[in-house]
């Protein structure tokens, strides 16, 4: 059961990610990214992180990707989904495959064949995570809040039409 779910969603992750990268139409690419992100959320659940899965769907697909869609529709780049020319494509594919293989070899050397035991109830509890986030990691947590505030301010300033550009 678990293996079947994993295989299904792992395949979905990879196929939809390829569509994101290769599809000429940006809207299709973004929609495919939604599939990738939701499938990764399912993998998070399998790895015993249901909270992260919910946050992944809520923040990534519910907010970040909608922002992408918005900008794509606003700038109307729908026809501008072209990819690079021949040589660059080949070099890029080579680099991507090479890097992935390197990672795979490294991971296999360290984690190959390591089994996982089934999840226990205590592994997926939310309370310890909340305590960690607001206890041990309170300072980073607050700093992320500050970062988001800075990002909001910066985005507002950047996206505002400058006085000189007004006609």
């Amino acid at each position: 059961m678990e293996v079947a779910v994993f295989l299904l969603f792992a395949a979905l992750v990879l196929v939809s990610a390829l569509v994101v990268v290769l599809h000429r139409n940006p809207i299709y690419a973004v929609m495919s990214l939604v599939v990738t992100l939701v499938s990764i959320a399912v993998l998070f659940v399998l790895l015993g992180a249901p909270f992260l899965a919910a946050i992944q769907v809520l923040v990534y697909t519910g907010a970040i990707v909608v922002l992408f869609l918005f900008v794509i529709m606003l700038l109307n780049v729908s026809g501008d989904g072209s990819t690079a020319f021949g040589l660059q494509k080949i070099v890029a594919a080579g680099a991507a495959v090479g890097f992935s293989t390197l990672l795979l070899v490294l991971f296999w050397g360290r984690f190959g064949g390591l089994p996982l035991s089934p999840l226990k109830e205590a592994d997926v509890a939310l309370r310890p995570l909340a305590r960690a986030l607001l206890g041990t990691y309170l300072l980073p947590f607050e700093m992320v809040g500050l970062l988001l505030l800075a990002a909001v301010t910066a985005a507002t300033v950047l996206a505002r039409r400058g006085e000189s550009e007004k006609t």
Binding site: V3, V59, A159
Partner: protein, 109 residues
């Protein structure tokens, strides 16, 4: 039967590769940015897998939580990055009428 940890890491590695490919071949800045999101997600997936494996071997719940907190931070930073990045694209588009990365070469020489 449960899924071995390596399978998750394999998915993460392949996803990272796909993201790299996207960054290298896409001409539109937004599309390259989408590919970066893929890479971030690959990293997140591997962090969660590492955390699970570490918790499995040490039996230490705190180690797992460290990983999960790290992923939360990455997601928050990704949100900030998306907001600023897209605002930048809009600003650039207003001036240059394009976000084709090949033509945004003012700073090249």
């Amino acid at each position: 039967m449960t899924v071995p940890i390596f399978w998750y890491l394999a998915v993460a590695a392949a996803l990272f590769g796909i993201g790299t490919l996207g960054v290298l071949i896409r001409r539109s800045a937004i599309m390259a940015f989408l590919s970066i999101e893929l890479m971030l997600n690959a990293v997140n997936l591997s962090i969660v897998a590492f955390a699970r494996s570490l918790g499995e071997r040490t039996g230490d719940l705190a180690a797992v939580l460290d990983g999960h907190v790290l992923v939360l931070m990455v997601i928050a930073v990704a949100a900030a990055e998306a907001a600023i990045g897209l605002a930048l694209f809009i600003a650039v588009y207003r001036r240059r009428r394009t976000i084709d990365l090949n033509r945004l070469n003012l700073m090249r020489w």
